[in-house]
Symmetry: C4
């Protein structure tokens, strides 16, 4: 963890996250009826809980119109869930207003080109190593764990460590 990360992480009051490629390994399980399943990690679920204990809400922003994501969010008691969201930056600006936080107080982890405009604006940005947009953006933190295998949790653990040594 470098000083840049520590300084930025101290200000974080909200954590937002993409789903496919971050909470999953980008896999979409299709049957003859269309998309049926996504595979999430219990590690990320624990990350949401650890954030909650620090009073930090988790916000989901995904461009997919997925019922599956709603079920995962319910299980983890996440209130701010935006599916079918084509303009993530615009949505995040709106959410910031509602929650009365600034963009500098938001951490975001995303992995593809439709995440870039938001990644550029938040206070603390992260990407998983499997991201196809890695050559287009340098995040504050590149996770070692890949999407669906604890990338989100790793990012959260780093933030929490900073918060706890404060």
């Amino acid at each position: 963890m470098n000083n840049n990360f520590i300084k930025k992480a101290k200000s974080i009051k909200v954590v937002a996250t993409d789903i496919d490629g971050v909470w999953t390994d980008s896999g979409m399980y299709y049957t003859a009826s269309g998309e049926k399943m996504k595979c999430f990690s219990t590690y990320d679920g624990m990350g949401v809980q650890l954030l909650r204990e620090l009073g930090i809400p988790t916000i989901i922003l995904t461009s997919e119109n997925s019922e599956i994501v709603l079920r995962r969010a319910e299980k983890l008691q996440i209130k701010n869930v935006y599916i079918n969201e084509k303009e993530k930056l615009r949505r995040m600006i709106e959410v910031c207003r509602e929650l009365d936080v600034s963009m500098n107080e938001v951490a975001y982890i995303g992995d593809d080109i439709n995440d870039l405009s938001l990644l550029e604006k938040v206070g603390l940005s992260a990407m998983p190593p499997n991201s196809p947009a890695r050559h287009l953006f340098s995040p504050d933190y590149l996770t070692e764990k890949s999407g669906g295998h604890g990338a989100f949790r790793e990012f959260i653990d780093q933030i929490i460590e900073v918060k706890n040594t404060n």
Copy 2:
């Protein structure tokens, strides 16, 4: 990216792709009723969309008679989908005639022995590293990402980079 790739990619007007082992990691999920699921990557879906924005259609050629593939193609609004296709080269020649393009303007990514005759004839060829036919053919591009984990997208990103620096 070497000069050979750049030169060949400049001419591409159509991208064709195999499914199993390219859009999947070769996995076929069976229940007691037979094949039930395939796992696709959202990265490849974004690749299809990026091609469309450049006016380049994606064509699916698979020897499997799979309803699952039809659902994925519908989601991605792909029109030219050939399932249960035992003669991929012959089919591609026919599609070229319909679309009024030459074989030199076709890019194809495939991974097994039934892809070889087509891989040898297209303008730009690719294989994922998990291919069991790697010792039988040297494609213009060997992807770093494996099938089902963004191999198709990586190939598409390379083609698009060439197109955009044109």
Copy 3:
């Protein structure tokens, strides 16, 4: 295998295990109806059987309220299965009393922060390499195989080797 492991393994009469991240790779397969599947390894199933042949029972302790785990336990004829268990240490103390063994005679493999208090107290502790709590605890044995890919079996094989060379 070092002397510390050998000495501790000799005393083991009971093996307890976490599920998510140990018997699985932490993956939770969700459909539009919620969690639907977990993926277990046949290698771990064989581990349970090998322990039984030595008269060592396997005990499952998971904080998840999962029917799926009950089915896996039934298949493997495991009697002591505790799902929805928020206090694993307390439960294990109770089970020790029932089975008339001491905590020093218990081996436990777990991977997350809710496993730490139990891991610290048992006679022989293990973690899989994918554990997000690795920086918080040094187990007696860190498996090479990751969760869901034979981590439990590897731990069991080590214990059995010690038992058999006794």
Copy 4:
């Protein structure tokens, strides 16, 4: 490929295979109703077809009582399928008699301790690298690809290469 392999492979008239850990990565997908799915590889399916073209039948031997395996075998038109088979060596001896081949003309790939007695007796033996029994037996061929990701196909490709250069 060493001389030992070449010499032994020349005699092979029948290929037998285990399923879990060889045709799969050892994963068993459970729902609240029990085991629901296995994930096979299309590469192994092509391997069965390539063997058939050389007049070599594929034989399935699994200790699991699995309908799922029957569906995969039907798809691949495999006639000799033995599920719920607790004594693989005894069964193989019987099959050899039926097919009028000797044990030296049988190739077998398996990965766990219940495969060892058969692995020791066949003319050509193989194991995938994920095998938990690797320290107990040295097969004629250790595949590079792991179970469920083309291990069987790789073994078959090696045998076919020997046959074709004969």
